[in-house]
Symmetry: C2
Subunit: 542 residues, 2 copies
């Protein structure tokens, strides 16, 4: 097996090597032959030139998941980087000819969920980061972007044109605007549910056919980025978190620059404040007083961008309440904190602010700090203003060593009681496994996502041995409550998909029937979101 | 052919009988055999009992499209009315066994777009109107409804529970809540884009498999109606305007009862006022000052619910400007009228009202009538308050005789210039064909739908001869501008689908590849939205 033959040694300690290797070997040996990879590589070079085809040892390593529990489990055979749709169409034909699986990435910054690595070791990374075109419709407030456009790229583009429209950015703005929306990432403005603002896609199907969805299916339509449904069935969301096609262009709506931004930053003192806080925000969100989607974060989410664990303790296991109190005191953060923001006309924001203030004062925050901006004033560089940011990623340094985090993100009802129960259950598990608890509760219009970052240090073998059992326990605990994840790391796609079990996994059967019809050779991202093409059926985790 | 053998005579005059009959015969002869229908009918009776199986002459007639140009073109073989999901699963097996096409309807009130009739004559109507269960989650403001639940049913249900949540209703509230949302119907409140408020479906697939989408795929999930995307690809919009499955339950979000409703009814005097009006409303809609989707309607849309043509003239051809002026004077309506509404807290509405008033005053309406309501006051029974209504359907009486209307509804950019050009082009065609112009421009968040009702009198053979060529001309005119319809009558599904032509009809190829994978026998609604299963490939209109 080509990919494995080239595997480099590891500097850091490794965990359960034998088990992992066996499992990984099993996952890749069945269907990808090294001679096929070698032939495909030559064919890729014919199309892209040798400078855009990367199959050396260091290339392979550079596309690994930097936060992985096991670097080899998702080790790629190599990577190719086309710059045009026509090249992608040719690549797809080569992949079909040699039965080589492709793992498309936009910019590969899906940190916490697998980064740039493929689910199936031995896959070829289809790196689309060279495709960076932006088309901007200033009148209507829409863009059409290629996969390689990062939040920084788009921000710079809009800023050079007077920032008439604001972005919504995720905590890691290093990544791709398209990749994030297609993975259902979230931001902080009223346009924060990114996938909901997608309007029209261009997709290379696994047989090379180029499709445009929605109004884009009407050649030359001026409404491709204006009306998302088109005529007949609508497919945009079929290409989210899936493996049915390679998205080469995505329409996205942007928020018009508001006249005013108002709101407040709130801190709450006790763990038990979470329930009342959720019950206070939820109705405001549902009735639309609040249009953005606030995120309630715990003290560690706020503090670990300023400090590291070693500055406070060298004791293993979960932090004691004493240390937590000391850290909170130093950085003046609540056990929970949340920011609420209003966007639009100043006169309307003022009226809405009074409603928010009344509701928040009633539940007695430990602090309430008003925030206010008016068009023309200097703009604070935060997620609330759609300014790209990367500082939340500093949480990877918490434990020291080669740090990282893996996400665990179940969907909950908007209920204080449900959230408190979920918090207590999960916090107890963190303590049981000796991990420090970083969590947030992010509001949608009618749901909550409880985003847990499992922080880790890849140079701590004892800790690393616990990460996988811990995450599987959390998935199991959530399932028992009827909760499923909205998004997960490569390692848990099968496990999470397996929790979506209604009627003997009817949704899986639908997904895989469509998969086999559109991708009979199984060349696109086998295993993504638990969707396995027939060719790789045996690779599904037991 | 069974369906045709039973065809009753017609009381009213008929148009181009020979041509139509030939075409209709051609469309149904190929694939549906009368012996298969007879066998299927017996099997349906075994499951449903004879009282829920309707194959007599009068039954067939009662499921025809009452507004059709040609009653026979979409004449069904009969109808069956199950009351449970298990029965539908059995029906699907019978349809596969005998290769009998089913045409699912919710309540069959899709007037202007085909009513209860099937696209393919000789199909069996699967009438789901007996399925009327409602599950209500008052805390989260969601319902889970079966296909037979009408807007009246749901309104009565909510009213008996204190109307804590408001509906968004279409002009014809006689119809099904589910059917309307799945056909992408629209209403007048901030929840007026009904399809956008769908959250989770239950679907019987063509092979009988029962699927739940989104979080419903997780058995027993409390978040089925709360988070629409689930894990992996999301399918809700795949079942809109399509023929991939039979939707048996639909989750829908409801608007919390607002504290206050404010707004204004505006009339504008001249045809040319349309452009500035659209350019004034569009930015308010995009920035979110206006959350609902206003509809600008012309004088006839307002007047034809109060009067009929015969009261004003007996001249054929399009109405003269003199008559139009007289009618407008009598009913005190503008050439165009529009209503704007704000929903929510009174203090916020007041601030937003001032913004609307300033913007509207600037473009000089001929009248501006403020509207105001506060919780506790008696509620006006209009579309703006989500009260079911049917009065707009009185437009069918405009010409006298057996009246009706057929919709023509292209999607436009939100541009005054584009809308004015579309208006002029279409109005000229109405005059050319001698038809009276009823039109509206309905706002979405970033698009306009130009809904034209082609009013007709089935007892006027001269008029009826013009309807089909007229509608085909409008489709062609729109295509030349890059515009496609968002929804169309059965007669024009192929013609409209044909305008979605990017890359040699790539979207059609995707649709039909999925269709054949999920419905290899082509039993579900062949031809719906121009999607033809392999078995009926020859039926597609040239």
């Amino acid at each position: 097996m080509a990919a494995r033959a080239h595997l480099p040694g590891h500097a850091g300690p490794r965990v359960r090597d034998d088990e992992r290797d066996e499992e990984s070997e099993k996952r890749t040996m069945t269907a990808i032959s090294s001679s096929a990879i070698a032939s495909a590589r030559r064919a890729f070079e014919d199309i892209l030139g040798p400078t855009n085809v990367f199959f050396d040892e260091l290339d392979q390593q550079s596309y690994q998941d930097k936060f992985a529990v096991d670097d080899e489990r998702h080790h790629p055979a190599g990577a190719i980087a086309p710059s045009t749709v026509a090249q992608i169409q040719e690549i797809v034909q080569i992949a079909r000819r040699y039965k080589v699986p492709l793992w498309p990435i936009s910019r590969g910054k899906n940190l916490g969920y697998g980064g740039s690595a493929p689910l199936l070791a031995g896959s070829v990374i289809l790196d689309l980061s060279r495709m960076q075109k932006i088309e901007y419709d200033e009148h209507n407030g829409t863009v059409l972007v290629e996969p390689g456009v990062s939040f920084y790229d788009l921000y710079d583009f809009l800023k050079s044109r007077g920032l008439k429209h604001w972005l919504s950015v995720p905590g890691n703005s290093w990544g791709s605007v398209m990749g994030n929306a297609l993975d259902r990432g979230v931001g902080y403005t009223p346009y924060g549910e990114h996938t909901a603002r997608i309007c029209g896609l261009e997709v290379v199907m696994p047989d090379g056919m180029l499709v445009r969805t929605g109004m884009g299916a009407l050649d030359g339509s001026p409404t491709w980025q204006l009306y998302r449904y088109g005529f007949g069935p609508s497919w945009d969301q079929m290409f989210a978190q899936s493996n049915f096609g390679i998205v080469t262009k995505m329409g996205l709506w942007l928020m018009p620059e508001p006249e005013s931004l108002m709101g407040m930053d709130l801190e709450f003192d006790k763990p038990e404040d979470l329930g009342p806080l959720i019950d206070a925000i939820a109705p405001l969100r549902r009735e639309g007083v609040l249009q953005q989607s606030p995120t309630i974060g715990n003290w560690l989410r706020a503090a670990n961008i300023f400090t590291t664990r070693g500055e406070w303790t060298d004791k293993p296991g979960a932090l004691s309440d004493e240390v937590i109190t000391a850290i909170r005191k130093k950085f003046n953060v609540g056990w929970w904190g949340v920011s609420l923001r209003l966007y639009g006309r100043e006169s309307i924001n003022k009226a809405a602010y009074a409603v928010l203030e009344e509701a928040m004062t009633r539940i007695k925050p430990m602090s309430l700090k008003p925030a206010k901006w008016r068009r023309g004033e200097p703009l604070e560089a935060t997620g609330w203003t759609g300014t790209p940011l990367t500082f939340p990623m500093q949480n990877a340094n918490w434990y020291g060593g080669r740090g990282g985090h893996i996400g665990f993100s179940p969907v909950l009802p908007q209920s204080g009681a449900a959230a408190m129960a979920q918090f207590k259950r999960t916090y107890d598990r963190y303590k049981e496994y000796g991990m420090d608890y970083q969590a947030s509760f992010a509001f949608g219009e009618r749901h909550l996502i409880n985003v847990n970052a499992v922080l880790l240090n890849k140079d701590d073998p004892e800790m690393m041995a616990k990460v996988d059992p811990f995450l599987r326990q959390l998935i199991k605990d959530a399932r028992e409550q009827g909760y499923g994840e909205y998004r997960t790391h490569l390692d848990y796609m099968d496990a999470v998909e397996n929790t979506y079990d209604f009627n003997d996994h009817a949704l899986r059967r639908l997904n895989e029937r469509v998969k086999d019809a559109l991708d009979p050779d199984g060349i696109l991202a086998p295993g993504k979101s638990g969707i396995w093409p027939r060719r790789y059926a045996k690779e599904r985790e037991a």
